[in-house]
């Protein structure tokens, strides 16, 4: 167990080094929320969204922090792992005296550190340019913490499981990126959620991102802004239920479908 953790820590370090050095992954998984926040936040800087003085850029920041969970975990892993399967990274690791769990500790640790760094930068940008306030009160910070952790856990496990879907590493981003984009459009990231067609809201409610965005809005918007949420409530309990369910599904899937070798090899 100690050895698994010790090697897992080494894996976190090497994973982070590779994550930030790979230009595609650094831009696509790490920088993208900052870039989108600056563009959308500037274009719609003063647009009101139906409650007092909440601007679209504030609404959008909550959506970008929630999206960041999806980028750093699901999108990152569902693209990177198929590439590692193709370029023999996984085969090399399978031949080492490395506990298999250490590999997944490395992935989870990388995701966590990347997400924390991303949130810090997003908050700095939000505070400096878009009039965002830090969460007020212990309960909001507590919610921020558990939503982040459940979101990262479920989307990390789902990313590990989804890594068996792309046939080749090269084509992985073409499969994964549209899924993330569709979820963002339907989950209240680019548009106010309750203004979307109801079938779209229903569709999005099956997946984690819709609940992540809503919970992040609870954390970062004034309390009264719940009038523009579905049913006029923040629905934190339901968010927790959906995220826990996806974490369990992701865990079972990751355990059962993950492959160390490319298709056609046993």
């Amino acid at each position: 167990m100690n050895r698994t953790l010790a090697i897992g820590r080494r894996r976190i370090g090497i994973e982070l080094l590779q994550f930030f050095r790979d230009r595609e992954s650094a831009i696509f998984n790490f920088m993208l929320p900052m870039i989108l926040l600056i563009i959308f936040g500037s274009v719609f800087a003063n647009q009101q969204i139906g409650f007092e003085d909440v601007t679209f850029s504030q609404y959008f920041l909550a959506g970008m922090i929630a999206s960041g969970i999806l980028y750093t975990s699901f999108q990152n892993l569902a693209i990177a792992i198929p590439m590692e399967r193709d370029d023999s990274t996984l085969k090399r690791l399978a031949g080492l005296p490395m506990p298999k769990a250490s590999y997944f500790i490395g992935k989870a640790g990388m995701v966590f550190v990347a997400y924390v760094a991303q949130v810090i930068i997003l908050l700095i940008v939000g505070i400096l340019f878009f009039g965002i306030d830090l969460p007020s009160g212990g309960f909001k910070w507590f919610t921020f913490a558990w939503v982040s952790i459940l979101g990262l856990a479920s989307c990390t496990l789902l990313g590990i499981a989804f890594s068996v879907v792309p046939k080749q590493g090269k084509g992985a981003s073409a499969i994964v990126a549209p899924i993330v984009l569709v979820l963002q459009f339907t989950s209240g990231v680019f548009f106010v959620f309750t203004e979307l067609p109801s079938w779209m809201q229903t569709f999005a409610s099956f997946f984690p991102l819709r609940w992540l965005t809503q919970a992040m809005r609870f954390v970062f918007l004034p309390d009264g802004a719940q009038v523009i949420e579905a049913g006029g409530e923040w629905q934190l309990g339901l968010a927790a239920l959906v995220l826990v369910t996806w974490t369990v599904i992701g865990f079972v899937l990751a355990l059962t479908v993950f492959r160390w070798s490319p298709r056609g090899e046993k």
Binding site: R3, L17, S88, T89, R92, A94, G95, L96
Partner: protein
């Protein structure tokens, strides 16, 4: 018990028998070269021994352990150099070697290993920018960093220039002299001749010859062919006693024999005749499930 023992190994994929019947042993500190055409079953055999694949039948023992059940302690005693890899491109040579040293209980010094494979000048270069031969030397460095007792080398010198290959041979000779047991897969006959104590020629999933490089296919006992020029035409004669024949020729010509050559079958000729006598096997197996 020898470090590597293989008996009647067999492995079939859906419609191709990759390994039909392979047996050999490698003694401690010995280097065995597996030679054979593409698709002959070399890589499948090696990957069964490395624990990547399971044999359908037969037995395999590496350091006394069935590779299909080998644990971490067993893996820590192996070094594996796979066929050409292109992973780790965003790390530098030193970062990669240092990182992989961390998996093993008694690793070699990373800088010593980098020097041993001749990559000191590239230690701070990104692996993705290395040439083919340099990249291969990195793979070898990662294979030996853990001070393995058994080292698997799958086509280790692909893309090496002749000087780099000579240096690599010296490196392997050094490992052997320290007692490392080596299973080498190669396409280069001169590499097998130089490094291997014994050679197993594999064709169509079977061992068709298994001997020292000098004796392979009985070539040490093969008749020599003596060739010379006489009366304006080329003459040749196969003989078991080339020295006696040349002495006769020298007497006949009263000194120098024009165009004199003595030829014994090279390892390459012996190898080609061995795999050809196996029913011209290699063409139809090539591209099989390797």
């Amino acid at each position: 018990m020898e470090p590597i023992e293989v008996e009647h190994l067999r492995k079939a994929y859906a419609d191709v028998v990759a390994v039909a019947d392979v047996s050999f042993t490698v003694a401690a500190g010995e280097c065995l070269a597996l030679l054979g055409p593409n698709g002959a079953g070399k890589t499948t055999t090696t990957e069964i021994l490395e624990g990547y694949r399971r044999a359908d039948s037969g037995t395999a023992r590496v350091l006394g352990v069935d590779p299909a059940t080998g644990g971490m302690d067993w893996r820590a005693r192996l070094g594996i150099v796979l066929q050409a890899d292109r992973d780790l491109g965003d790390l530098t040579v030193r970062e990669a070697v240092q990182h992989f040293a961390g998996y093993f209980p008694h690793p070699r010094d990373p800088d010593d290993v980098i020097a041993a494979v001749g990559l000191q000048a590239k230690a701070k270069s990104r692996n993705g920018k290395l040439s083919g031969g340099q990249r291969r030397r990195l793979d070898v460095a990662l294979g030996i960093i853990g001070r393995p007792e058994v080292l698997f080398l799958d086509e280790p010198t692909t893309g090496f220039d002749p000087a780099a290959r000579r240096e690599f041979w010296d490196l392997i000779a050094g490992l052997k002299s320290e007692g490392t047991t080596i299973l080498l897969t190669t396409h280069y006959l001169e590499e097998a001749e130089h490094l291997a104590d014994r050679v197993a020629v594999i064709a169509r999933g079977r061992v068709v010859a298994y001997d020292t490089p000098a004796n392979l296919g009985n070539r040490s006992q093969a008749r020599a062919v003596v060739m010379w020029e006489e009366s304006g035409s080329d003459r040749s004669e196969a003989t078991d006693e080339p020295t006696r024949l040349i002495a006769e020729l020298a007497t006949r010509f009263n000194g120098e024999v024009p165009g004199l050559q003595v030829h014994r079958p090279s390892l390459e000729e012996t190898y080609l005749s061995l795999i050809a006598s196996d029913g011209a096997a290699h063409q139809d197996v090539e591209g099989g499930a390797m």
